[in-house]
Symmetry: C2
Subunit: 205 residues, 2 copies
DNA sequence: GGGTGCATGTAATGGGTTACATGATTCT
DNA sequence: AGAATCATGTAACCCATTACATGCACCC
Protein backbone atom coordinates (compact mmCIF):
# COMPACT_ATOMS: atom_id res chain seq x y z
CA UNK A 1 0.00 0.00 0.00
CA UNK A 2 1.33 3.34 -1.01
CA UNK A 3 1.74 6.28 1.23
CA UNK A 4 -0.89 8.97 0.98
CA UNK A 5 0.60 11.92 2.70
CA UNK A 6 -1.50 14.73 1.37
CA UNK A 7 -4.74 15.61 3.02
CA UNK A 8 -6.61 15.91 -0.25
CA UNK A 9 -6.86 12.21 -1.17
CA UNK A 10 -7.74 11.37 2.40
CA UNK A 11 -10.47 13.95 2.45
CA UNK A 12 -11.86 12.31 -0.67
CA UNK A 13 -11.69 8.90 0.93
CA UNK A 14 -13.58 10.33 3.86
CA UNK A 15 -16.34 11.68 1.67
CA UNK A 16 -16.57 8.43 -0.26
CA UNK A 17 -16.92 6.65 3.06
CA UNK A 18 -20.31 8.32 3.45
CA UNK A 19 -21.48 6.72 0.26
CA UNK A 20 -20.15 5.97 -3.24
CA UNK A 21 -20.00 9.02 -5.44
CA UNK A 22 -18.73 10.54 -8.65
CA UNK A 23 -16.19 13.34 -8.72
CA UNK A 24 -18.98 15.70 -9.59
CA UNK A 25 -21.02 14.54 -6.62
CA UNK A 26 -18.08 15.08 -4.32
CA UNK A 27 -17.75 18.67 -5.43
CA UNK A 28 -21.47 19.23 -4.93
CA UNK A 29 -21.41 17.67 -1.50
CA UNK A 30 -18.57 19.74 -0.11
CA UNK A 31 -20.47 22.96 0.64
CA UNK A 32 -23.05 21.01 2.58
CA UNK A 33 -20.55 18.99 4.57
CA UNK A 34 -16.95 20.05 5.10
CA UNK A 35 -17.32 23.34 3.27
CA UNK A 36 -16.73 25.51 6.29
CA UNK A 37 -13.24 24.27 6.88
CA UNK A 38 -12.16 22.51 3.73
CA UNK A 39 -12.36 22.86 -0.01
CA UNK A 40 -11.40 20.93 -3.09
CA UNK A 41 -11.76 21.98 -6.71
CA UNK A 42 -12.42 19.82 -9.73
CA UNK A 43 -8.83 20.31 -10.72
CA UNK A 44 -7.86 18.42 -7.60
CA UNK A 45 -10.69 15.94 -7.39
CA UNK A 46 -10.61 14.31 -10.81
CA UNK A 47 -6.87 13.62 -10.96
CA UNK A 48 -6.85 12.49 -7.34
CA UNK A 49 -9.65 10.00 -7.92
CA UNK A 50 -7.81 8.61 -10.89
CA UNK A 51 -4.62 8.19 -8.91
CA UNK A 52 -6.43 6.61 -6.02
CA UNK A 53 -8.09 4.24 -8.39
CA UNK A 54 -4.71 3.18 -9.73
CA UNK A 55 -3.45 2.81 -6.17
CA UNK A 56 -6.36 0.54 -5.37
CA UNK A 57 -7.92 2.77 -2.75
CA UNK A 58 -11.15 3.12 -4.65
CA UNK A 59 -12.97 1.12 -7.27
CA UNK A 60 -14.73 2.70 -10.20
CA UNK A 61 -18.00 1.80 -11.79
CA UNK A 62 -19.21 3.50 -14.92
CA UNK A 63 -22.89 4.31 -15.23
CA UNK A 64 -23.99 5.07 -18.73
CA UNK A 65 -26.54 7.82 -19.26
CA UNK A 66 -28.58 9.17 -22.09
CA UNK A 67 -27.11 12.27 -23.58
CA UNK A 68 -24.96 13.13 -20.62
CA UNK A 69 -21.39 11.91 -20.13
CA UNK A 70 -20.92 8.68 -18.23
CA UNK A 71 -20.91 8.90 -14.47
CA UNK A 72 -17.81 7.44 -12.85
CA UNK A 73 -18.95 6.31 -9.46
CA UNK A 74 -16.19 5.57 -6.99
CA UNK A 75 -16.47 3.54 -3.84
CA UNK A 76 -13.96 2.73 -1.12
CA UNK A 77 -12.08 -0.52 -1.26
CA UNK A 78 -10.87 -2.25 1.87
CA UNK A 79 -7.44 -0.74 1.26
CA UNK A 80 -9.01 2.66 0.96
CA UNK A 81 -10.86 2.25 4.20
CA UNK A 82 -7.70 1.11 5.92
CA UNK A 83 -5.81 4.08 4.52
CA UNK A 84 -8.47 6.44 5.79
CA UNK A 85 -8.40 4.92 9.26
CA UNK A 86 -4.64 5.14 9.29
CA UNK A 87 -4.62 8.77 8.26
CA UNK A 88 -7.18 9.58 10.91
CA UNK A 89 -4.72 8.34 13.52
CA UNK A 90 -1.92 10.66 12.45
CA UNK A 91 -1.68 13.71 14.68
CA UNK A 92 -2.54 16.94 12.94
CA UNK A 93 0.36 19.30 12.75
CA UNK A 94 0.01 22.94 13.37
CA UNK A 95 0.11 25.12 10.32
CA UNK A 96 -0.10 28.87 10.38
CA UNK A 97 -3.39 29.64 8.76
CA UNK A 98 -3.14 32.88 6.86
CA UNK A 99 -5.55 35.55 7.89
CA UNK A 100 -5.50 38.55 5.63
CA UNK A 101 -7.86 40.55 7.80
CA UNK A 102 -5.47 40.37 10.74
CA UNK A 103 -2.58 41.18 8.47
CA UNK A 104 -4.28 44.39 7.43
CA UNK A 105 -5.22 45.23 10.97
CA UNK A 106 -1.61 44.78 12.00
CA UNK A 107 -0.57 47.41 9.49
CA UNK A 108 -3.55 49.57 10.35
CA UNK A 109 -1.33 52.47 11.29
CA UNK A 110 -0.42 52.85 7.63
CA UNK A 111 -4.00 52.75 6.38
CA UNK A 112 -6.25 55.58 5.40
CA UNK A 113 -8.95 56.64 7.84
CA UNK A 114 -11.79 54.18 8.16
CA UNK A 115 -10.21 51.41 6.12
CA UNK A 116 -9.63 49.08 9.02
CA UNK A 117 -13.01 49.87 10.50
CA UNK A 118 -14.67 48.91 7.24
CA UNK A 119 -12.87 45.60 7.17
CA UNK A 120 -13.77 44.81 10.72
CA UNK A 121 -17.38 45.74 10.13
CA UNK A 122 -17.48 43.50 7.09
CA UNK A 123 -16.05 40.66 9.11
CA UNK A 124 -18.65 41.25 11.80
CA UNK A 125 -21.46 41.04 9.28
CA UNK A 126 -20.01 37.96 7.69
CA UNK A 127 -19.64 36.13 10.96
CA UNK A 128 -23.11 37.07 12.14
CA UNK A 129 -24.47 35.65 8.91
CA UNK A 130 -22.44 32.50 9.38
CA UNK A 131 -23.79 32.08 12.88
CA UNK A 132 -27.33 32.13 11.57
CA UNK A 133 -26.38 29.67 8.91
CA UNK A 134 -24.88 27.30 11.44
CA UNK A 135 -28.00 27.13 13.55
CA UNK A 136 -30.07 26.57 10.44
CA UNK A 137 -27.74 23.82 9.31
CA UNK A 138 -27.89 22.20 12.69
CA UNK A 139 -31.66 22.02 12.64
CA UNK A 140 -31.64 20.58 9.17
CA UNK A 141 -28.98 18.02 10.01
CA UNK A 142 -30.74 16.87 13.14
CA UNK A 143 -33.86 16.34 11.13
CA UNK A 144 -32.57 14.82 7.92
CA UNK A 145 -29.69 12.79 9.22
CA UNK A 146 -31.18 11.90 12.56
CA UNK A 147 -30.27 8.25 12.27
CA UNK A 148 -26.81 8.51 10.83
CA UNK A 149 -24.24 7.29 13.35
CA UNK A 150 -21.85 9.97 12.12
CA UNK A 151 -24.19 12.78 13.04
CA UNK A 152 -22.48 13.52 16.38
CA UNK A 153 -19.19 14.15 14.62
CA UNK A 154 -20.80 16.42 12.08
CA UNK A 155 -22.38 18.38 14.87
CA UNK A 156 -19.02 18.77 16.55
CA UNK A 157 -17.62 20.51 13.51
CA UNK A 158 -20.68 22.71 13.28
CA UNK A 159 -20.20 23.58 16.90
CA UNK A 160 -16.62 24.50 16.19
CA UNK A 161 -17.83 26.88 13.53
CA UNK A 162 -20.20 28.45 16.00
CA UNK A 163 -17.52 28.93 18.61
CA UNK A 164 -15.11 30.38 16.10
CA UNK A 165 -17.63 32.72 14.56
CA UNK A 166 -18.99 34.01 17.80
CA UNK A 167 -15.48 34.59 19.12
CA UNK A 168 -14.78 36.57 15.97
CA UNK A 169 -17.96 38.55 16.48
CA UNK A 170 -16.90 39.44 19.99
CA UNK A 171 -13.47 40.45 18.78
CA UNK A 172 -14.93 42.61 16.04
CA UNK A 173 -17.09 44.49 18.50
CA UNK A 174 -14.22 45.03 20.91
CA UNK A 175 -12.04 46.15 18.06
CA UNK A 176 -14.61 48.61 16.76
CA UNK A 177 -14.83 50.09 20.23
CA UNK A 178 -11.07 50.34 20.37
CA UNK A 179 -11.00 52.01 16.98
CA UNK A 180 -13.52 54.52 18.30
CA UNK A 181 -11.21 55.23 21.19
CA UNK A 182 -8.27 55.70 18.86
CA UNK A 183 -10.18 58.11 16.67
CA UNK A 184 -11.28 60.05 19.71
CA UNK A 185 -7.69 60.31 20.90
CA UNK A 186 -6.64 61.63 17.53
CA UNK A 187 -9.43 64.19 17.68
CA UNK A 188 -8.31 65.41 21.04
CA UNK A 189 -4.74 65.82 19.93
CA UNK A 190 -6.13 66.90 16.63
CA UNK A 191 -5.11 69.67 14.45
CA UNK A 192 -7.71 70.61 11.89
CA UNK A 193 -10.59 68.27 12.48
CA UNK A 194 -13.53 68.14 10.21
CA UNK A 195 -15.85 65.32 9.48
CA UNK A 196 -13.86 62.20 9.87
CA UNK A 197 -16.12 59.20 9.56
CA UNK A 198 -17.55 58.97 13.01
CA UNK A 199 -20.64 57.16 11.99
CA UNK A 200 -21.17 53.49 12.36
CA UNK A 201 -23.73 52.38 9.89
CA UNK A 202 -26.63 50.66 11.55
CA UNK A 203 -28.65 48.69 9.13
CA UNK A 204 -30.83 45.71 8.61
CA UNK A 205 -30.50 42.74 10.79
CA UNK B 1 2.82 51.85 -10.96
CA UNK B 2 2.29 48.15 -11.39
CA UNK B 3 -0.45 46.20 -9.81
CA UNK B 4 0.48 44.12 -6.82
CA UNK B 5 -2.32 41.68 -6.33
CA UNK B 6 -0.73 39.06 -4.13
CA UNK B 7 -0.69 39.47 -0.42
CA UNK B 8 2.93 38.47 -0.06
CA UNK B 9 4.58 41.58 -1.50
CA UNK B 10 2.16 43.76 0.41
CA UNK B 11 2.94 41.97 3.64
CA UNK B 12 6.60 42.69 2.98
CA UNK B 13 5.85 46.33 2.32
CA UNK B 14 4.03 46.41 5.61
CA UNK B 15 6.95 44.99 7.50
CA UNK B 16 9.36 47.36 5.79
CA UNK B 17 7.08 50.21 6.84
CA UNK B 18 8.08 49.51 10.44
CA UNK B 19 11.69 50.11 9.58
CA UNK B 20 14.14 49.33 6.77
CA UNK B 21 15.31 45.77 6.78
CA UNK B 22 17.09 43.02 4.93
CA UNK B 23 15.33 39.90 3.72
CA UNK B 24 16.96 38.01 6.52
CA UNK B 25 15.69 40.50 9.06
CA UNK B 26 12.18 40.18 7.70
CA UNK B 27 12.22 36.45 8.21
CA UNK B 28 13.52 36.88 11.75
CA UNK B 29 10.91 39.47 12.57
CA UNK B 30 7.90 37.46 11.45
CA UNK B 31 7.54 35.15 14.45
CA UNK B 32 7.58 38.15 16.76
CA UNK B 33 5.08 40.17 14.78
CA UNK B 34 2.63 38.64 12.32
CA UNK B 35 3.69 35.07 13.01
CA UNK B 36 0.38 34.00 14.49
CA UNK B 37 -1.59 34.61 11.33
CA UNK B 38 0.92 34.93 8.54
CA UNK B 39 4.11 33.38 7.31
CA UNK B 40 6.64 33.88 4.57
CA UNK B 41 9.65 31.77 3.78
CA UNK B 42 13.00 32.83 2.34
CA UNK B 43 11.97 31.28 -0.92
CA UNK B 44 9.24 33.91 -1.14
CA UNK B 45 10.98 36.82 0.50
CA UNK B 46 14.15 37.13 -1.54
CA UNK B 47 12.59 36.93 -5.00
CA UNK B 48 9.75 39.20 -3.93
CA UNK B 49 12.12 41.87 -2.65
CA UNK B 50 14.03 41.74 -5.90
CA UNK B 51 10.86 42.16 -7.95
CA UNK B 52 9.63 44.96 -5.78
CA UNK B 53 12.96 46.67 -6.15
CA UNK B 54 12.62 46.50 -9.91
CA UNK B 55 9.06 47.79 -9.64
CA UNK B 56 10.30 50.74 -7.64
CA UNK B 57 8.38 49.91 -4.49
CA UNK B 58 11.50 49.60 -2.41
CA UNK B 59 15.03 50.91 -2.61
CA UNK B 60 18.04 48.83 -1.79
CA UNK B 61 21.17 49.79 0.02
CA UNK B 62 24.05 47.41 0.35
CA UNK B 63 25.97 47.35 3.61
CA UNK B 64 29.32 45.70 3.37
CA UNK B 65 30.47 43.54 6.24
CA UNK B 66 33.60 41.78 7.30
CA UNK B 67 33.51 38.10 6.51
CA UNK B 68 29.75 37.88 6.21
CA UNK B 69 27.86 38.42 2.98
CA UNK B 70 26.67 41.91 2.24
CA UNK B 71 23.44 42.98 3.83
CA UNK B 72 20.83 44.22 1.37
CA UNK B 73 18.75 46.65 3.32
CA UNK B 74 15.45 47.59 1.74
CA UNK B 75 13.33 50.59 2.56
CA UNK B 76 9.97 51.76 1.28
CA UNK B 77 9.84 54.30 -1.49
CA UNK B 78 6.96 56.71 -1.84
CA UNK B 79 5.48 54.42 -4.45
CA UNK B 80 5.79 51.52 -2.09
CA UNK B 81 4.05 53.39 0.67
CA UNK B 82 1.27 54.37 -1.70
CA UNK B 83 0.91 50.79 -2.87
CA UNK B 84 0.66 49.60 0.73
CA UNK B 85 -1.98 52.17 1.57
CA UNK B 86 -3.91 51.20 -1.51
CA UNK B 87 -3.80 47.51 -0.70
CA UNK B 88 -4.94 48.23 2.83
CA UNK B 89 -8.11 49.74 1.38
CA UNK B 90 -9.06 46.67 -0.62
CA UNK B 91 -11.70 44.59 1.15
CA UNK B 92 -10.47 41.21 2.27
CA UNK B 93 -12.24 38.41 0.53
CA UNK B 94 -13.33 35.35 2.32
CA UNK B 95 -11.25 32.29 1.75
CA UNK B 96 -12.00 28.91 3.23
CA UNK B 97 -9.23 28.32 5.65
CA UNK B 98 -8.35 24.66 5.78
CA UNK B 99 -8.58 23.03 9.14
CA UNK B 100 -7.28 19.51 9.21
CA UNK B 101 -8.38 18.91 12.77
CA UNK B 102 -12.00 19.60 11.91
CA UNK B 103 -11.68 17.47 8.81
CA UNK B 104 -10.61 14.53 10.92
CA UNK B 105 -13.32 15.16 13.45
CA UNK B 106 -15.87 15.19 10.67
CA UNK B 107 -14.79 11.70 9.66
CA UNK B 108 -14.49 10.63 13.27
CA UNK B 109 -16.99 7.83 12.76
CA UNK B 110 -14.41 6.05 10.63
CA UNK B 111 -11.58 6.45 13.10
CA UNK B 112 -10.22 3.98 15.58
CA UNK B 113 -11.18 4.40 19.23
CA UNK B 114 -9.54 7.32 20.91
CA UNK B 115 -8.01 8.85 17.81
CA UNK B 116 -10.28 11.87 17.70
CA UNK B 117 -10.04 12.34 21.43
CA UNK B 118 -6.26 12.44 21.18
CA UNK B 119 -6.39 15.09 18.48
CA UNK B 120 -8.81 17.22 20.45
CA UNK B 121 -6.72 16.89 23.57
CA UNK B 122 -3.63 17.93 21.64
CA UNK B 123 -5.46 20.94 20.29
CA UNK B 124 -6.57 21.84 23.79
CA UNK B 125 -3.01 21.76 25.04
CA UNK B 126 -1.74 23.74 22.11
CA UNK B 127 -4.31 26.45 22.53
CA UNK B 128 -3.79 26.70 26.25
CA UNK B 129 -0.10 27.17 25.61
CA UNK B 130 -0.86 29.82 23.01
CA UNK B 131 -3.07 31.66 25.43
CA UNK B 132 -0.22 31.89 27.91
CA UNK B 133 2.05 33.06 25.17
CA UNK B 134 -0.32 35.79 24.12
CA UNK B 135 -0.54 37.31 27.56
CA UNK B 136 3.23 37.17 27.84
CA UNK B 137 3.59 38.84 24.48
CA UNK B 138 1.15 41.53 25.42
CA UNK B 139 3.06 42.43 28.53
CA UNK B 140 6.28 42.56 26.59
CA UNK B 141 4.81 44.64 23.82
CA UNK B 142 3.25 47.14 26.17
CA UNK B 143 6.59 47.58 27.82
CA UNK B 144 9.00 47.61 24.89
CA UNK B 145 6.90 49.35 22.30
CA UNK B 146 4.99 51.61 24.62
CA UNK B 147 5.58 54.65 22.45
CA UNK B 148 5.01 53.19 19.05
CA UNK B 149 1.88 54.65 17.49
CA UNK B 150 1.18 51.28 15.88
CA UNK B 151 0.97 49.51 19.21
CA UNK B 152 -2.85 49.63 19.37
CA UNK B 153 -3.10 47.76 16.09
CA UNK B 154 -0.62 45.14 17.17
CA UNK B 155 -2.61 44.63 20.34
CA UNK B 156 -5.77 44.15 18.30
CA UNK B 157 -4.24 41.23 16.48
CA UNK B 158 -3.00 39.78 19.73
CA UNK B 159 -6.48 40.13 21.10
CA UNK B 160 -7.83 38.28 18.10
CA UNK B 161 -5.45 35.44 18.86
CA UNK B 162 -6.71 35.36 22.42
CA UNK B 163 -10.34 35.25 21.39
CA UNK B 164 -9.72 32.56 18.82
CA UNK B 165 -7.64 30.41 21.12
CA UNK B 166 -9.98 30.62 24.04
CA UNK B 167 -12.94 29.81 21.82
CA UNK B 168 -11.04 26.78 20.61
CA UNK B 169 -10.30 25.78 24.20
CA UNK B 170 -13.98 25.95 25.03
CA UNK B 171 -14.86 23.91 21.98
CA UNK B 172 -12.26 21.28 22.83
CA UNK B 173 -13.66 20.85 26.32
CA UNK B 174 -17.22 20.60 25.07
CA UNK B 175 -16.13 18.14 22.44
CA UNK B 176 -14.27 15.97 24.91
CA UNK B 177 -17.39 15.83 27.03
CA UNK B 178 -19.43 14.89 24.00
CA UNK B 179 -16.94 12.16 23.12
CA UNK B 180 -17.34 10.81 26.64
CA UNK B 181 -21.06 10.69 26.14
CA UNK B 182 -20.65 8.88 22.83
CA UNK B 183 -18.37 6.27 24.35
CA UNK B 184 -20.79 5.74 27.18
CA UNK B 185 -23.66 5.26 24.75
CA UNK B 186 -21.71 2.67 22.81
CA UNK B 187 -21.00 0.79 26.03
CA UNK B 188 -24.66 0.75 26.98
CA UNK B 189 -25.81 -0.49 23.60
CA UNK B 190 -23.12 -3.11 23.40
CA UNK B 191 -24.68 -5.63 25.74
CA UNK B 192 -22.11 -8.28 25.05
CA UNK B 193 -19.17 -5.96 25.17
CA UNK B 194 -15.78 -7.49 25.48
CA UNK B 195 -13.28 -6.25 23.01
CA UNK B 196 -13.84 -2.63 22.26
CA UNK B 197 -11.98 -2.96 19.00
CA UNK B 198 -14.86 -5.05 17.80
CA UNK B 199 -17.10 -4.30 14.96
CA UNK B 200 -18.92 -1.18 14.17
CA UNK B 201 -18.92 -2.20 10.55
CA UNK B 202 -21.97 -3.08 8.59
CA UNK B 203 -23.58 0.22 8.18
CA UNK B 204 -25.40 1.60 5.24
CA UNK B 205 -28.28 3.94 5.02
C1' DG C 1 36.42 19.80 14.82
C1' DG C 2 31.62 20.78 14.80
C1' DG C 3 27.48 23.25 15.57
C1' DT C 4 25.12 27.63 15.32
C1' DG C 5 24.29 32.12 13.43
C1' DC C 6 24.73 35.45 9.75
C1' DA C 7 23.37 36.27 4.98
C1' DT C 8 22.41 35.55 0.35
C1' DG C 9 20.04 33.29 -3.14
C1' DT C 10 18.12 29.33 -6.66
C1' DA C 11 15.83 25.00 -8.03
C1' DA C 12 12.95 21.30 -7.33
C1' DT C 13 8.74 20.03 -5.89
C1' DG C 14 4.17 20.13 -4.34
C1' DG C 15 -0.49 22.01 -3.83
C1' DG C 16 -4.26 24.36 -5.56
C1' DT C 17 -7.31 27.47 -8.45
C1' DT C 18 -8.94 29.02 -12.80
C1' DA C 19 -9.73 28.69 -17.41
C1' DC C 20 -10.46 25.94 -21.14
C1' DA C 21 -12.79 22.28 -23.91
C1' DT C 22 -16.87 19.41 -24.93
C1' DG C 23 -21.75 18.59 -25.45
C1' DA C 24 -26.54 17.17 -24.56
C1' DT C 25 -30.70 18.40 -21.65
C1' DT C 26 -33.81 21.11 -19.32
C1' DC C 27 -35.61 25.26 -17.64
C1' DT C 28 -36.95 30.27 -18.39
C1' DA D 1 -32.88 32.03 -27.81
C1' DG D 2 -30.08 31.68 -23.95
C1' DA D 3 -28.79 30.21 -19.44
C1' DA D 4 -28.09 26.70 -16.10
C1' DT D 5 -27.20 21.91 -14.92
C1' DC D 6 -25.02 17.61 -15.64
C1' DA D 7 -20.47 15.52 -16.27
C1' DT D 8 -15.95 14.74 -17.53
C1' DG D 9 -11.30 16.00 -17.77
C1' DT D 10 -6.61 18.80 -18.97
C1' DA D 11 -3.38 22.65 -19.05
C1' DA D 12 -1.64 26.83 -17.56
C1' DC D 13 -0.59 29.24 -13.98
C1' DC D 14 0.16 30.95 -9.11
C1' DC D 15 1.75 30.39 -4.75
C1' DA D 16 4.58 28.38 -1.15
C1' DT D 17 7.75 25.26 1.24
C1' DT D 18 11.94 22.66 1.29
C1' DA D 19 16.28 21.49 -0.02
C1' DC D 20 20.33 22.84 -1.87
C1' DA D 21 24.55 25.77 -2.40
C1' DT D 22 27.95 29.00 -0.50
C1' DG D 23 31.03 30.65 3.06
C1' DC D 24 32.93 33.18 7.05
C1' DA D 25 32.86 33.96 12.17
C1' DC D 26 32.29 32.64 16.65
C1' DC D 27 31.86 29.60 20.52
C1' DC D 28 32.46 25.14 22.93
Amino acid sequence: MKKMGGATPNALLGLLSIHPMSGYDVRQLIPRSIGNFWNESYGQIYPALKQMSVAGMVSKKTERQKGRPDRHVYSLTEDGRAQLREWLEVPVEHEVRRNELLLKVFFGGQAGPGAIRRHVEASLEKNLAELKLYTAMEKQLRKEEAHDPQLPYWLMTLNAGRHLSSATVRWCRETLAELDRLDAAVLVKGTAVKKVAGKTKRRKS
